[in-house]
Point group: C2
Chain length 465, copies 2
Amino acid sequence: MNDDSSARRLADTLRSVVRTAPAGSRLPSSRALAAEHGVGPVTVATALRLLAAEGLVETRPGEGTFARRASTTPGGDTAWQLTAMGPATVQATALGALLRPPRPGSVPLSSGYLAPEHQPHHLVSQALARAARRPASLGRVDPTGLPELRAWFATEAGARPDDVLVCAGTQAALATILSSLCRPGDAVVMESPTYLGALAAAQAAGLRVVPVHRGPDGAPDPQDLDRALQASGARVLYAQPHGANPTGTSWPARTHRELLAVARRHGCFVVEDDWAHDFVLAGSPRPLAADDPDGTVLHLRSLTKSTVPALRVAAVVGRGPVVARLAAGRTAADLYVSGVLQHAALDVVTGPGWRRHVRSARTLLIERRDLLAAAVTRHLGADALTHVPDQGLHLWVRLPDDADDLALAAAAATAGVDVTAGSPWWVSEPAGPHLRVSYSAADPAEAAQGVEVLAGLVRDRPRTP
Amino acid sequence: MNDDSSARRLADTLRSVVRTAPAGSRLPSSRALAAEHGVGPVTVATALRLLAAEGLVETRPGEGTFARRASTTPGGDTAWQLTAMGPATVQATALGALLRPPRPGSVPLSSGYLAPEHQPHHLVSQALARAARRPASLGRVDPTGLPELRAWFATEAGARPDDVLVCAGTQAALATILSSLCRPGDAVVMESPTYLGALAAAQAAGLRVVPVHRGPDGAPDPQDLDRALQASGARVLYAQPHGANPTGTSWPARTHRELLAVARRHGCFVVEDDWAHDFVLAGSPRPLAADDPDGTVLHLRSLTKSTVPALRVAAVVGRGPVVARLAAGRTAADLYVSGVLQHAALDVVTGPGWRRHVRSARTLLIERRDLLAAAVTRHLGADALTHVPDQGLHLWVRLPDDADDLALAAAAATAGVDVTAGSPWWVSEPAGPHLRVSYSAADPAEAAQGVEVLAGLVRDRPRTP
């Protein structure tokens, strides 16, 4: 790593040389370059590789390195596409903002991951290195998933390995579920507010999203749900019953049975997106899937959130013929999930370091949640925080009625604080302006300062006279 | 690896012990197990890890290993799903068969990959190990792809990095293209026969597949294409102009301009699935995208086929506003592609071993193609092979008019020869029964024996009197 900056400097120097050289001309030898620029051979090799990646040079073993003209086809008129493509269906602006890596130097109150220093880099790095050495992990895998990994997911969910379908992350699983079980134009019922990624997946599948409001106890009212399913004919309810993103609330255990029964009566699958499974901060939530003999629940479990962003591995756990339906849909969507990622994921979660990691992440998250909650109450008032989450990574912060959450989040970004506006997460009209404020990634002292900045922006907000 | 069999034996022994032990009881220490079973500590650790993956034991650091009762929810009645799910849209049986790893001991004449011993395991393994050590590759990446990898794909296709969208394989790219540019019920035009995965992607997107016949020169007739686009109103033509799978034919260079012009006149995108880009066996095919200033072509380039199945990395290269449309669709489908796979892919294709690998694969494929083509002609007659491919991995073998390709492929599997039936690849009725016979994976001597078996089955086929 240390060598990177000198290699980049050398690449910058060589880039201008190469750009003006005739295509096909040979560069000086690596030894000559090292001597000329006073650097080591590793630096030269790294610099040449950077230029090769940009398509500026080409290395031919035994012959040397050659300038290569980056030939770009001249651009014509592509405006015809704006008619040919038809209307856009996916509104990915808010989701795209969520996915952008944090800006260096900003306070990351918008992250959906653990802080990089709390991610189990060592476990994952070792597991990947081991997987990379095993020919079996480079080759073909069963399209439904690595048998041992399916067995692990099954045990976690109290199911059988055949009930498990491995997917390249929860988003891929959800996209497959919606396009496999719904026809375009169909309704899908979602809690409001709900996860932005679920809204995008529904848009991509051409579905109408029908809201069901979360009641004050964190769960939809069973009669509300009954009416929504009756009126819409939806075959799928998408829900986050445990530490919902963005609200941080959970369905009380006493509501599970009745809500499931309502769905079952309407022949409606319940997608239980258990995204925060490894971020339980209090209590021990019971999955809906544990009380579902008839296959109403499709349980989603991801390993990406609790490991590292690069480990795109998740599972759908279902029961009954629906599993085969989803397997066919997953095959059409992406054929199979990389064997090396599956082997590495299995290695991580069955290794002795896994439970230690989950425990230590929990301790850190509890501390960060409490400090951030205190900062919010101190700077924004007790009314700003109606609920301190028992699970997940986010606080759902209520702003004054006349505040504009989108303008506020934009102003905060300018002031160096990354935070997520609440409006795009609602299916119906927002019940007041909110910000989603994440406690996982920012250092607590920095996070508190960030909240102070937010409070200042709220205080100084433009007001209509 | 060598240790695996003794670990598996030990796991078998311990499994029956654990299954009858009370849940929560502690196993003997690793040292005691090693002594009792006369094995080393690595073997004990591996065996315990196998049992942990099956959910039978749980290791708590500093405390020991404990029996864990695999609790499975009792099964109820899931038959309601068969009504609730509605009609199945994706016919994934033939595609699923294609994806199944080869059966040990069978002659693999159905593989779409290089033989494992010809895959660049060493390059990929080293690249993955390097990527695993870099924190940047474990973390978040730009959802459109790693900038250096986009630059590499762009250079390869004569485009700009902004024109490139990295996807988790060609199938994922295709699924995104079809669901982003077509509305359910729309038509998509495909050559007949065409790639099974493309048919499945179209079914999943709810599209009508409209065939355009491949002429004797390997390309659709421009007037046929004109009529198909006119009648169907399709906004997308999916094609494999270079070494098509399954036919092995290519569009002659002189047809490119006219076919593109027809598509352009109808405001129709042309998906150029360049799956066999790295398997050019003769000539130097020019991509359609190289003569497309107006953004008609969406060029698909995969690295999976030419590296290893685990490296699920591909790109769509386009031009114009369509790239943003596809980026939104890709985000809704799977958020982003694992950084570790992207870093490893970049490392492989910009390293000095890459071109050597592609060259040596080419030499091997030419040899295998020629030997298999000779065996087909010898055992099945000169009429069985009308075309020897200049690109790709497959021969398209014509069977006698009254042969049943599906029954023949099933009989061949029973006889230990894996080969792919032609019928499912057609969009319209098949122009005669065919088998797709792959030359990449089987040892040439074995492959010739496999063809002899096929010829025997053809000779002895049931005939209607």
